[in-house]
Symmetry: C2
Subunit: 226 residues, 2 copies
């Protein structure tokens, strides 16, 4: 077992796997996943590049590790609670967490090596629905549907430099200006007359879709399971 031995009484400022992963998140949060290199990470940690390899086997392992850490920030749904409330709370939490770590959005749903926080999360998700009376089949439907929506929404939301109503308009404007708007009349009208309105907030779409989905799922169990 390669493990950080820091048995002494005084905490030495030494590296550890946890510090490596925490540093990696700091770097990625600051500059995106592209800015995360072994060298930039080493600098963040005040150490030379090769030192980090004492705690992780490869950069891939770092990625798997920080994705799991991000998962660990998301509220777990609580089995036994009202399933709708729990699903909504967890979805809102996931969206908020991903807003803080936009680089993680495309990575969360696509890991081949899920970490313990990820597994714990899935376990709680399934337990919540099963406890609420969902059949296996409906649980599978709900799992695929909710996660596709939540992560898909976050992907659009976080990929674009959109934070708050203003920047939607800015982004839309900067995209449109390169093109012959006459060629896309409906897109233009939609953008001008709806998206660029000062009171339009793309983020609010999240709630509409989530409600529609939960309503739809709710209709498939016989009545509102407790």
């Amino acid at each position: 077992m390669v493990k950080s031995v820091r048995g002494g009484t005084k905490e030495r400022i030494s590296l550890s796997r946890d510090r490596v992963l925490a540093g990696a998140i700091v770097v990625a949060d600051a500059g995106g996943i592209g800015a995360l290199t072994i060298r930039s990470l080493a600098q963040e940690l005040g150490v030379k590049p090769m030192s980090v390899y004492h705690y992780v086997a490869s950069k891939d392992e770092i990625i798997d590790g920080i994705v799991d850490l991000v998962y660990s920030e998301v509220d777990l749904p609580v089995p036994g609670g009202d399933w709708r409330t729990e699903m909504k709370r967890r979805a809102d939490s996931a969206r908020r967490v991903l807003a803080g770590h936009p680089w993680a959005t495309a990575l969360l749903p696509s890991r081949l090596h899920p970490g313990p926080a990820t597994l714990r999360h899935h376990n709680a998700f399934i337990a919540t629905l099963r406890t609420a009376g969902f059949s296996m089949e409906l649980t599978a439907h709900a799992f695929a549907l909710i996660d596709s929506y939540v992560f898909g929404f976050a992907l659009s939301e976080n990929a674009l430099p959109i934070h708050g109503p203003d920047s939607v308009a800015d982004t839309a404007a900067s995209m449109m200006q390169f093109f012959d708007a006459d060629a896309y009349p409906q897109l233009l009208a939609f953008t001008m007359e709806h998206v660029m309105r000062p009171d339009y907030d793309f983020g609010k779409e999240f709630e509409y879709g989530l409600t529609l989905i939960l309503d739809g799922l709710g209709g498939s169990i016989g009545g509102e399971a407790k």
Copy 2:
């Protein structure tokens, strides 16, 4: 304008922006987006690395270009047709196209520089809903909801090496074996008793979710619009 001049009567085997992008897709399809490097692309094209820079300014421009090409493969919804039919056809098409270019899944919904095919696609999408009587507001809801779902689903589906019922079980098995299954009892039961069943096909979840979403949207216009 930098443009390939091939005015002669005989087609010379020369480079062009189109050939560069087509080659890039071949390389990415074969080895993933990670395998797409300027050097591997040049080799595919039978040319030296720097030659491709005569047709594109940077690797980023290549990425933007091939993403737009992928978009161009997706069936356009037809304004005036039954909106449910059109939405379903386009969603199925998008899913099928992304199955052929899995590397593109996370890139499609996250471009800052949409190409003409992408804009044409969005235009047709909006036109189809507006023509069917959707309000601006409901169109915006539908846009965010459907695309989040379709791309989010494709992201899960294509990230994992899952193609067909067999490999779901394989993948699930290989993921589980690394962990203390006792710690995740509900996840384990769900996986064993449902996901690993020979007749379980993750791909079929797509239709369930899409139907639920379209039903939900349909309930918000006053009756089934033509």
